[in-house]
Symmetry: C2
Subunit: 227 residues, 2 copies
Amino acid sequence: MTRILYTLCGRDERRPFSPHSWKTVMALAHKGLDFEERPTPFTEIPKLENGFSKTVPILRDGDRLVRDSFDIALYLEEAYPDRPTLFGGEGGKALSRFVEGVSQTLVHPVLTRLAVKDIHDMLAEPDQIYFRETREAYLGRKLEEFPPMREAEIDNLKQRLEPIRHTLKHQAFLGGATPLFADYIVFGALQWLRVTTGPLPLSSGDTALQWYERCLDLHGAKGRAFG
Amino acid sequence: MTRILYTLCGRDERRPFSPHSWKTVMALAHKGLDFEERPTPFTEIPKLENGFSKTVPILRDGDRLVRDSFDIALYLEEAYPDRPTLFGGEGGKALSRFVEGVSQTLVHPVLTRLAVKDIHDMLAEPDQIYFRETREAYLGRKLEEFPPMREAEIDNLKQRLEPIRHTLKHQAFLGGATPLFADYIVFGALQWLRVTTGPLPLSSGDTALQWYERCLDLHGAKGRAFG
């Protein structure tokens, strides 16, 4: 197979957890494209493909190498225009950046605080050293300070998913009656939380959770296939 | 002229301040459609057009009456397909709902707390009574409790505009190189704050403010034409 997707894992490579890599897993599945997934520990990523990228996902598609989940989605849309669209036109492409903005600037910070200690504990030793050093510097706290804030962060998460609930009053997916890349952007964020910390802390009546479950069922339940 | 747009005003009808009505003002201007604006006080709205709607905007387009800013945008897109698009395709239409969700569930609550006392003070007496009663019940506080929280709410506002700044790293408008209805959704929210409380509490180097200023300059600087 000539299509390889490098993703992120800890000690157990059956539990890839990078939110950005999950976006790409779903984007490739959406386009109906086969690929071999190669989950990679943090400290091995800079060695992949002759140092092509410091972060995953990295997609090798034949001779072509592409990095960054959004750029990969744009690449797939251009390279495979006859497959189902990831954006639904130019307006959808532009507004997917806004969805990315919401996910990465408002939702990710909460998820980071919820998951950072569990992520650390999933890693092999060399990755734990790297992870603790970089994350504690970035977050300005010891990793052990986060678990006690869990309940407050769950409240934050619930609030920051309100835009999704608003959208779901009008349609089944963020992308409309069927999903688009925008759905996979937020799905990837929540999948990150689930793979690293367990079942999402949302109630069964929460339409945002119901939407996430619909995403899990997409493309042969690709999102359920781990661990 | 057969096109009438009912909007919202206080004592001074030259200062229409409804965020939703501003979305429609910009949407009509975007489509290049002339209209007569009729700013209306809160307590007069239920009497408009034989009680057609409890809220503005209300658009009369010849024989057609349409309410709700999003529904009006959808109507305009369908009725005037040869004019510049408000959505940029089906994906853009779907994701505009998500932008509306962000604006109404994350940004509006902060703007409400920042503006609610000033809005009250702009109203004529019968509207003040209606407004205080409904808003204090909804917000669970006296209107006078909000101004002292101003600095904290400004910090909240700055944080909740982060998705816009993220988007603007990649493009000039939320809609891409040129604006779409999604831009007018968030513009309307900030315009509401400016018309009711004065200059936006954002620094000149803030890309979100620079984008808002670009929106003000659109369509013959329509957004600057008040007061």
